[in-house]
Point group: C2
Chain length 195, copies 2
């Protein structure tokens, strides 16, 4: 039996994305966003949605670029801090002792201490209401070498990403492996084919 919770954005989980930009003076800024996701496979695009009141909103429009740095669980407090204070009056890199690295592909910095980084070129802006959706084409992904498997994939458990739960406002870690996609459902397909 289901009950109504009203019109809300209850989609679980949301990623914890630290968005890197340059301000008007070329100073590196970061903010934490959870509204967004993968938007297209070819060209590879992701979306992030920001309120126009944020400092980063204007910086992305101005530089037509941003990065996404994914913090591991060890950096959860830092990621939360980055979402608590504004780039309008805080130098968050300096305050947290984090290292901005200039992307050589797009006009934006990323967080050296965070294990995985997407360097994005702004390709579209969609005004949706309170939030503006930015579509970024991923020009490259950079990841800590020790997290790359021998199949050139990301070791997810070592990446140890943070998950955000909308409405309840809780961060969770990654749990246990359930199985392989495009695989664990095959038994059901074969079963049906036999029937």
């Amino acid at each position: 039996m289901k009950t109504s919770l009203g019109a809300k954005t209850l989609l679980y989980p949301a990623p914890v994305m630290v968005v890197g930009t340059y301000n008007e003076q070329g100073q590196a800024n970061v903010m934490t966003a959870a509204w967004g996701g993968i938007a297209c496979s070819r060209p590879p695009c992701i979306s992030i949605s920001l309120r126009s009141a944020t400092a980063s909103h204007a910086y992305i429009v101005s530089r037509k670029a941003f990065t996404i740095s994914l913090p591991s669980r060890a950096y959860a407090a830092q990621a939360d801090y980055i979402g608590l204070v504004s780039g309008h009056n805080h130098n968050k890199f300096e305050e947290l002792g984090l290292t901005p690295v200039a992307s050589t592909l797009v006009d934006a910095p990323y967080v050296n201490e965070f294990p995985l980084v997407l360097e994005c070129r702004l390709v579209a802006i969609h005004e949706l209401g309170l939030h503006t959706q930015f579509i970024g084409e991923v020009m490259d992904v950079k990841v800590d070498k020790m997290l790359v498997t021998n199949k050139r994939r990301v070791n997810i458990e070592q990446l140890d990403p943070i998950l955000f739960m909308p409405d309840s406002g809780l961060y969770y870690g990654l749990g246990t492996l359930i199985g392989e996609a495009f695989s664990i459902g095959k038994e059901l397909v074969q079963h049906k084919d036999k029937a």
Copy 2:
């Protein structure tokens, strides 16, 4: 030290969303999507990105509506199956013994057995390349009564959502609680204010 993995959509984690639609004959269909996320808070909007080759793509364009049903971990094989076969030649509800429920708010069905449902009205279509991004305004969220806390929030651990890991193609479960958002970073703020 970071290494380049090339231009890919490596954003972790992605949600596992089962998209409900009606086909031309009014038969309920579902497909599994992981490209998407929350897009706007007011009005509450989510985005999903589908290839035009999918059956659901045409159904969403035609009916201007879709639902998102979030499977719990217990339904991981079913969710995978729903992503393996096409609505063009499969009645997935029937094959899996799942129950379509007609939304009374939008022209689309949802999966009764899955614990959380978003009923969405199509408000925008963005052609991004291989994928089309659909923006859906969330008209209501329906959730299994037993999952609602006394604060009218979703009990995330009981919801037990599935997480998809792009590229590596693995499903994971939810891990342990890290802490409260807009809270665990406060200690760092106070520390800075004192300094």
